[in-house]
Symmetry: C2
Subunit: 175 residues, 2 copies
């Protein structure tokens, strides 16, 4: 379900696009909200076209198809936003690693966390750079809230990793 919502959202934010365009938008723009490969996107767009949520235009060169959201598509998106209660489903490799930290030696855990923190600092810089640039979205507002949330979450993970490393180092030093 969420894949189709993400696609409808991208079509709303970016205007009519091809499957190829949408694949790139997933990679470059909402990758920290949702992810999908072209092999999942193409069939889903065809299904959505069959159901009348989007219209197809077989026009461009190289058999390019352009998809645009329909009234029905917008209604579906709106219904999902307002009626559906957010599922608190959660699977996070990071949280799993956090749980498993005690299975390795303290010095190993510290090294792991410090390495993570470095990666996260780089990611933060990347996201801040995106925020500084002009938006890629034709409609205003899109990206702003998700990007803000992404930056906060990345900073949180970074700080957690640093502080946890320091804490483990301190308590291991006392042994």
């Amino acid at each position: 379900m969420s894949l189709r919502i993400a696609l409808l959202g991208l079509l709303t934010a970016a205007g009519p696009s091809s499957g190829y365009d949408l694949t790139k938008l997933f990679e470059s723009s909402i990758s920290n909200a949702w992810q999908a490969r072209h092999s999942q996107i193409y069939p889903e767009l065809n299904k959505m076209a069959a159901e009348g949520l989007v219209t197809v235009e077989e026009a461009g060169p190289r058999g390019r198809k352009s998809y645009a959201i329909t009234k029905e598509g917008s209604a579906e998106l709106r219904a999902w936003m307002l009626d559906e209660q957010p599922s608190r489903m959660h699977r996070s490799e990071t949280a799993l690693r956090a749980f498993l930290l005690p299975t390795i030696e303290p010095h190993e855990a510290v090294a792991l966390l410090r390495g993570q923190a470095e990666v996260l600092a780089a990611k933060m810089a990347e996201l801040e750079a995106i925020r500084a640039k002009a938006s890629v979205w034709r409609k205003p507002g899109f990206g702003r809230y998700a990007l803000d949330l992404g930056i906060r979450q990345t900073r949180l993970l970074h700080d957690w990793a640093e502080e946890t490393a320091a804490e483990i180092e301190k308590s291991a030093g006392q042994d």
Copy 2:
């Protein structure tokens, strides 16, 4: 892969357990790190037993089987922690909703966010209560880091929802 790692971790933290026990542990203890149903857990335990990562003891009443982690299992877990680079894979319905906020009316977005904040405040209280209680884990340390991370993440989402609602309310009021 991660399911099997989670199972090995739970067997390390809680000691020998049945599939039924592990199912409950997923629900009650590491649900904000990983989730799994019994229909996924039972077959996976059998596969792991066949591969020598765990041993089975068909002993208890009602055909209860007890599983314990082996040396090979511990090695697999350790290898995952140290060698595997964490995948930054991310699919978050919350982040997707954040991205899609501009598709609904400002007053609707504000209501949505405020409702979310309420739910998150309740969850925070729940997690704080778990932290206050004695640990369910036989081995010390487990749960501590993941729980701390979970509390921080829940607070972040709560604050983000509140602040974003306030911001939208303010800018909508100016119109």
